[in-house]
């Protein structure tokens, strides 16, 4: 039985252990960077921490995939998505065919003052038009300016990370 074990049983020794923990943390922070010291935090505006790849920062829109099906609008618990669209005629697929009816998107706004980042819209979208992006720096001085439009949502598409590789055995079956 070592001395350390004996000391560990003295009543009140935990008080000193607690003091040691805070002292060790302090000396770790005060150690120079070269020796592996420093704080756990980063000095935000000067240096930025990369958010985790699946962070729910903001919802981005891939406009060409949207069919104005309104599923996201109806499933949103906060009613913070606004969509307007119109029917349009597209040229026929094959020569001699009839022109096709398509839905064109006129307006797609998300009010981030209302959004609670539940992600139901992303889940529910059947056409892969909505994505989570880890982008987080989009606060505004005025609350009304948090209503972001189709262009802004489209810009955020660039920040959407690539899908992580599937796990082994998780490949799609068939076609």
């Amino acid at each position: 039985m070592g001395l350390g074990k004996k000391i560990g049983n003295v009543p009140g020794i935990g008080l000193f252990k607690g003091l040691k923990v805070t002292l060790n943390t302090m000396s770790q922070v005060m150690k120079p960077k070269k020796m592996g010291g420093g704080a756990q935090t980063v000095q935000y505006p000067h240096e930025k921490e990369a958010p985790p790849i699946r962070a729910r920062g903001v919802i981005a829109l891939r406009e060409e995939n949207c069919t104005v099906c309104m599923l996201c609008v109806r499933s949103c618990p906060d009613w913070c998505i606004y969509i307007e669209g119109h029917k349009d005629m597209a040229p026929p697929r094959r020569a001699g065919g009839a022109p096709r009816k398509v839905n064109k998107l006129d307006r797609f706004d998300i009010d981030y003052a209302l959004c609670m980042y539940c992600g139901i819209c992303v889940e529910v979208c059947p056409f892969d038009a909505l994505f989570w992006s880890p982008e987080y720096e989009y606060s505004e001085p005025r609350i009304a300016d948090l209503l972001h439009d189709i262009d802004r949502l489209g810009e955020w598409m660039e920040t959407v990370p690539e899908d992580p590789a599937l796990e082994a055995g998780a490949d799609k079956k068939g076609k």
């Binding site: 003091l19 805070t22 002292l23 943390t25 302090m26 922070v29 005060m30 704080a39 756990q40």
Partner: protein, 349 residues
């Protein structure tokens, strides 16, 4: 030295000195400990942008508080509500009045100094109780009552712990206690003088614990207890009145550290045997001690406030009943025993 100056110059000097003696420790403690040490212990850097390493953060904070609106609740007892922070601050200034910083560098020096000090230190309790009560807010009232209960409970062990020092020094004059510590000897060896932390270690421990409670620092911050009482007696205060409470809290922390260094660490002095000064009276001591004394005091204050703040940033808060039980069932009996043992040993040696 000061006595030879005209009265108004001496008074002006004392006012200036008092302001420095209150504000300098407060500012230093807030920056070094509250901003930096606390941050480091929580593995972050603390304020870094205002000035190099955030050293001007204090100026920014004070500026912010001074601009804020001075709000009193509608139902509050407004005159008392407004006066309460000043009562607390005044008690801080009254405390510093008897602390000696050098052989001639003191504000007042009288025989009942220690008695006065202990009496005046409880004036702040009044301010806090009155602040809580006049706020017309249940959290404030609870905070004020808790503060009153706690400060009374811990005043007692503090007085009793100090009694050991008084018995050993044979005087209640703080200047006398300092001189005695630096000119005494331990069993005939006078290389260190006789700082009472060695002979009165139990008393020192009790005193520091009581100081921690008296300052309502964690683990004894039940009166503020932000998770249950919002901010205790300070809940309704804003702007410069809150600032005054804040300054008073940390200035008092510094001054209690100064007092502890006077009582237990030898105050402004270095062991007199190093310089061959005579032990009786202060007139033998060289004049440069008036300059070196405050620096030495400041160093000792920093050491003691490091301990106070280190404890503050480490431990969780006591529950209200544990806090009272600890004072009445542990600290007071131990300090009574300490007095008895000290008295017996004083007679024996």
């Amino acid at each position: 030295m000061i006595a030879s100056l005209p009265y108004w110059v001496a008074t002006l000097l004392r006012i200036l000195g008092g302001a420095v003696a209150v504000l300098l420790p407060a500012g230093t403690i807030v920056y070094v400990y509250l901003f930096k040490m606390m941050s480091f212990m929580q593995s972050r850097l603390g304020p870094m942008d205002a000035g190099p390493y955030g050293s001007l953060q204090l100026v920014a904070e004070v500026g912010k508080w001074l601009q804020k609106e001075d709000i009193a609740p509608e139902k509050a007892d407004k005159r008392i509500f407004r006066a309460a922070p000043l009562v607390v601050l005044v008690s801080t200034f009254l405390l510093v009045a008897v602390v000696p910083f050098g052989p001639d560098a003191y504000f007042t020096n009288f025989d009942a100094g220690l008695f006065y000090l202990l009496a005046v230190s409880s004036v702040s309790t009044l301010g806090i109780l009155v602040a809580g009560w006049s706020s017309a807010n249940k959290y404030s009232l609870l905070g004020g009552l808790r503060a009153a209960g706690q400060l009374i409970a811990y005043e007692l062990p503090m007085v009793l712990a100090v009694l050991g020092v008084v018995i050993q020094a044979g005087t209640m004059n703080l200047q006398g206690i300092v001189v005695k510590q630096n000119s005494d000897s331990i069993f005939g060896w006078d290389g260190l003088g006789n700082p009472y932390i060695l002979t009165q270690f139990v008393g020192f421990l009790i005193f520091m614990i009581a100081v921690q409670a008296e300052l309502t620092q964690v683990p004894f911050d039940m009166p503020i207890a932000e998770s249950e009482l919002v901010s205790g007696y300070m809940t309704e205060y804003s702007g410069f009145r809150f600032l005054i409470f804040f300054i008073a809290e940390f200035a008092t922390a510094g001054i209690f550290a100064l007092i502890a260094s006077v009582l237990f660490l030898g105050g402004w002095g270095l062991p007199f045997s190093w310089f061959g000064w005579a032990p009786n009276g202060t007139h033998e001591i060289a004049n440069w001690m008036n300059v070196a004394g405050p620096v030495i005091m400041f160093t000792k204050m920093m050491v003691l406030s490091t301990i106070i703040m280190w404890v503050r940033f480490t431990y969780p808060r006591f529950r209200e009943d544990q806090l009272q039980r600890f004072a009445w069932k542990v600290l007071i009996p131990v300090s009574l025993l300490n007095i008895a043992v000290t008295a017996v040993l004083k007679v024996v040696f």
